[in-house]
Symmetry: C2
Subunit: 315 residues, 2 copies
């Protein structure tokens, strides 16, 4: 499907359900509400749904959003690479997706028709290209939605997926009232009180090996209990160990909830290969970010990991 066909599709259908992925982020939410506003501009009925209720974290994207009751007749998924990512509350739509708009090269092509551009920094950038190519009217809220997805998925223009076009789009979107300072504050700076406690606790217990080249945090069940913070706040800690100056490999050990053993998340600088490291434990991933599982108690697992790190560093 190309952008011209997408425009024709949107114009000739109605009563849209817009599906976003579970554990929503700024890109799936930004795409969803950008599309909702585009459809509204075309005089169509639409509703955005997620596996969970909308979080107040994204309430600046819901500006002007209103829900009306109707039986969905057209289903569009945005930023959803795999139908399994819709979540358990949206399984009824898994095989009913008419169009998928996405930027994941790994997209499973589960929809009847797809527009997937793995070269776009965000799903909202795919939508922005559509808007520009097909002359869809842009306004403040659509611009804010597009910018939010772009900023979220590029880590505010920091990650390697930031293409020049992402910066050009940001510059153009700033002609609208997108309040990017506030968007970025919400997306990147603000943390829950629980998350602050968790980050403080794991940093506090961070271990340093091989003259600081290896840093490690151990998220044990005991640590989780000690903090008294909701377990959801313990996700996404794997980038912390590599923030320490001099670290080449950052390892996060996360104890299984219900059995002995640990999940390892490994992050490396350009001086080490995370994927090769994890393969020796039966895992894998990317060159800078990979994972695996290791059976055993804490001290045993740590010994295994440190032996492998020592060999990798030649120490």
């Amino acid at each position: 499907m190309d952008f011209k066909e997408l425009k024709e599709f949107l114009e000739t259908h109605d009563d849209y359900l817009i599906l976003t992925h579970r554990n929503p982020d700024g890109d799936t939410m930004g795409s969803g509400f950008a599309l909702w506003n585009i459809l509204k501009g075309m005089g169509k009925r639409a509703r955005v749904v997620n596996n969970e209720p909308f979080s107040p974290r994204y309430d600046f994207l819901y500006e002007g959003y209103t829900e009306t009751e109707f039986e969905p007749r057209t289903v569009i998924a945005v930023d959803v690479a795999d139908k399994k990512l819709l979540g358990e509350n949206l399984t009824e739509y898994e095989d009913r997706v008419d169009v998928c708009i996405d930027h994941h090269i790994s997209n499973k092509a589960y929809a009847k028709q797809s527009i997937v551009d793995g070269n776009a920094s965000s799903a909202t950038l795919v939508l922005y290209r559509f808007i520009k190519e097909q002359g869809i009217p842009l306004n403040d809220i659509i611009a804010k939605c597009i910018y939010t997805g772009l900023a979220t998925d590029t880590g505010c223009f920091k990650f390697s997926n930031t293409i020049p076009e992402a910066h050009i789009a940001a510059a153009e979107l700033m002609a609208y009232d997108i309040d990017f300072v506030n968007v970025n504050r919400r997306m990147f700076d603000i943390k829950s009180k629980g998350r602050m406690i968790v980050e403080s606790a794991v940093t506090n217990e961070m271990e340093h090996y091989f003259g600081g080249k290896c840093t490690m945090i151990c998220v044990t069940r005991a640590l989780i209990e000690k903090t008294g913070v909701d377990i959801a706040e313990f996700d996404g800690l794997a980038s912390i160990p590599l923030q320490v100056q001099g670290a080449v490999i950052g390892v996060t050990l996360r104890e299984h909830r219900d059995r002995e053993g640990f999940k390892l998340s490994v992050r490396t600088t350009e001086e080490a290969d995370a994927s090769a490291f994890c393969r020796q434990f039966g895992g894998g991933g990317h060159i800078r970010a990979a994972g695996c599982e290791i059976e055993g108690g804490l001290e045993e697992v740590k010994a295994k990991v440190l032996k492998a790190v020592g060999e990798m560093l030649g120490e």
Copy 2:
């Protein structure tokens, strides 16, 4: 002085000393080494100096930089708003600055000639405008220097000083080998082990008042001693309290080193006025970031602050 005059000046002088400001950041360093490379391209002799020896933090900007001995005959300051910011080791040049290239609206006009554009996001953006307007040859290292200043001073395109032109420049600079992922990792993600300990310690002791609307950290002499970390690592903590979800005013109390009393740094969201808050204690600043000093012991100072916060919040 305009860009045409600057080009003529650079072409008709030689033996340059390029001054950067003390406590150097990516913008003053990026400007300094960009200018060094521009002068080198013109066949000129130049040297970049700072109050302290260059930090390894910025070593990617020193690529190809070599120092030769010569008696400076021309002095240029970059990103230095006030001659006092040169530092105690460069006082001999305070009144010898021939040209100042800067972007601070508060620039003190201490140089014989100045190019100051308060509308530029960074001093390197002023240099980039000069390069484009006057057809100065651009290369990988100059592009990396310009990008580094731009990213540093805008908080990687997050702060309100990010103008559309900053994004456009970033997009253009990406045509060169600037390795922006590595630049941003070094500028924003990597922290010293000591800094990690400090952030963990203050977060750990963060206090929450008025249902979380006010967050406070107290950097006492006792806390500094307890961590055993170099005192320099305790600078720039004031943004931490406002990172907590729900916080409207974030207060950082820093105990004086040599006498009773505290320095307050206040940060607010759009719901409160930091400047007005600090004025009642004889301080001042900007609407979102201000400061003041309060005499007294810790509990006494906290009580005064919390009383004022309660009044401001109407609680």
